[in-house]
Subunit: 259 residues, 4 copies
């Protein structure tokens, strides 16, 4: 039973290779996570365990996919940057997108118990994703800055919002109260009313999470004479740091090096 | 801290809406499942539990996504047909692809224990996927026939191959032995040498698996007089049947009904 | 001097083949023809010579490109329908678009003198174009109906507008006057104020122009006995007829016949 | 007669905007120019008038479209480079492609008489085209180098080929004769057999044609005292020069300046 009669249907598949010499970003985003986080009683405005779970998955992504050079995460969202010259699946958009999202999802479910030992998964978590091409390293930096500014704006708002709600306001009242306030007003509110110095909040909440490879010095083992030997190794690291200013990028030029 | 300075990066996202009035197929495929099935000691040529797990995930897909009208699975592959007029995520290819693959992966990991109670997942299973548009119902039928013919060809070959290997041949010898054989030769080989009547093998192995909605008659409950009341309900069903010939489609015209 | 060092740039060319089993429409449109028609003193609201020139080019298009099965034109716009199964340039969108627009433009300039013997071309006329895929013949009919309804709406409006302007109103006054009027009102206006029965206007103005192949009976030549021999021939014809209703299409089913 | 019933067909038009921050090249190519040049008895291997006509059209293109920053032409082919940040028709591929090809074709037909006063156009000349995005200025230079190397290879071959044919060989014999010859062999052949020093051939044949804007010093007019006033003006110029090496680009950095 040859299959030639039906093989014409393969012609409907299109060639979706992304253009060469472009950085590729895969951004994934929790699907209906508003509800998912309510169902699983995530703490508001930030649930440390949930963020640690996301970060752990991101670290595993970089360990698994060598062409991912940087990742930035905030809330239920993560952006993965593939190097400009990657030939991963011949740069086919569908392959890159589906495999990234699928592998991340798989990790998320498998690692759940590690971060929520006392909570059962009540429904299958899922993520949507998209693939974006950026022609220059400078634009990748701007993209990541865009996500980190977003992190800041949302976190500041949410911190105010949930403190107001926890102090007795309804969600609608809290929303009304914050309408039109500036960044400075919100900091003032947190300090005056709740005794919170915004800058003392955990960096993971304020800055989001960066995952990348860095040279790390390790004590490897003892030599014959019993002395410890140090060596540097390229390791995937997690950091909650500023990536809007030039400092990080000038100290880690190898990450977005152009060919 | 307004975000306007960096928002220009959003312009790099492209509009990937699929054309209207086309059936959409999402086909997902296990990634490196050759190795995954070896690591988890799947039976060869077909592991019932592994197939039942795939099918269970597919049934959950149809229960979760109302716009999937049909699914066909074989081995570690599943095709999901979305109805011609679906407005799911405005028909955006990335959303449809990533969500389908992600939700399926999530189900696969969550249901693993149910089908493999004695096996731990040793590595995160993942699936790649692609999205294909088909302009006519007839072509969708041909697409599905293409997959089912493929199922037949592969299963017949694999059944011969693994019986030869299990009877003492090396994998290379088995491969050599089967080179150039026709369908009829393979049936003959199975019958003569291994006493297997190919058509007696489980339909799930020979035909693959179809998932769709069908009217099912249920005994709902007893009425006041103690008589059982029957009602018909639209239910997601699983069947291992021929979808190459016209019979199935003429009996289930509602599945691929064109507007 | 081998060229291999630079050949990598070919990888930036993308594969733009249109999906199979779709009708392809190339719609071209005069670029800045508002100004072009003013520069060349086209009559308002319709210039017969300019329309005849467009139509002559369209007829030549069908004579040159056998895969164009139908064309519909109105004002400085023309839509060309390529048959569902065309393999013209492997269905590559850029090739189909650029060649259609280029050949049409070439014809337009070369035929200009034939239709405007007393007018010099003052500037290079140019056309933009786009390519659209339609998965079903019924949708092609709707597309063409859409263009013909547009022709009607525009022509009725323009006929009123230019009669008002020619009778002394400024363009702004004419515009104001027509604001909010219905189709019926406009017919009434034309009849009452200008003695024009809209339906008596030339069909080319009211219906636009259709170009297609039809069987035409021709007197071929005389036989030996001096009797004329009739034969039917497939010929490109031009007609100004209704294509919104079903009549034309049921009488010319071969034009949009699906495979 | 409202048009809403059919307007759904507009949904089949897709959004084809090219990605931002990419240089855009439109390359056009004569369609069936082998036959066209035979029909119009172009001189072989190079017809000066035909090349001058192409170049004249290219100069008019740059005068008409301010966003074209450079053009390179060889034989019946021309590449037009639009600046990285062009917003021409919102970077829609179809618009950019169709208008460029259409305007060029229009110029070609209108200018024909100027370059071939004694030849009638026997058939409508037409050009196909494609649009390509390049993410970096360096790659645009490589693209143009690719075209100029091609020009050299083809011209050297064609010069040998036609000299052999004109000296009595058949086309097939000439082809056989040149098979496997290197660049050096061909130069030797030209010199030994035909007394041609390849480097003495017109630069337009060997280098192709570049069109770009340059500062040109002009004698504008006389002042009151009768002295001529010089001024520099940005003008579209034509040159037959090397663009493979770095010299041209370092002297004209403004042409491919990145933002």
């Amino acid at each position: 039973m040859a299959n030639s009669k039906y093989e014409y249907v393969k012609k409907f598949e299109d060639d979706d290779r992304l253009p060469p010499c472009n950085w590729i970003v895969v951004r994934i985003d929790g699907c209906h996570f508003h509800r998912f986080s309510a169902d699983h009683e995530f703490e508001k405005p930030n649930d440390k365990n949930a963020l640690n779970l996301m970060n752990s998955c991101a670290v595993s992504m970089l360990e698994h996919f060598p062409d991912i050079v940087f990742a930035y995460g905030v809330s239920d969202e993560y952006s993965f940057v593939l190097k400009e010259t990657t030939q991963f699946y011949q740069r086919r958009a569908s392959k890159i997108l589906s495999l990234s999202v699928s592998y991340f999802t798989s990790l998320y479910v498998m690692k759940w118990k590690e971060f929520f030992p006392d909570k059962e998964l009540k429904a299958p978590p899922s993520f949507d994703g998209r693939v974006i091409c950026f022609p220059k390293a400078k634009i990748i930096q701007d993209y990541l800055a865009w996500r980190q500014v977003d992190c800041h704006i949302n976190n500041q708002y949410n911190t105010c919002f949930w403190n107001l709600v926890n102090s007795g306001k309804t969600e609608r009242e809290a929303q009304e109260f914050l309408k039109g306030t500036q960044s400075k007003d919100k900091n003032e509110l947190l300090f005056q009313q709740f005794g919170i110095n915004y800058n003392d909040l955990p960096a993971m909440f304020r800055k989001g999470s960066c995952v990348y490879r860095d040279k790390v010095e390790e004590t490897a083992k003892l030599d014959k004479g019993g002395n410890s030997i140090k060596r540097t190794r390229n390791k995937v690291v997690l950091a909650h740091i500023d990536i809007i200013g030039p400092k990080f990028w000038s100290e880690h030029q190898y990450i977005l090096e152009e060919e």
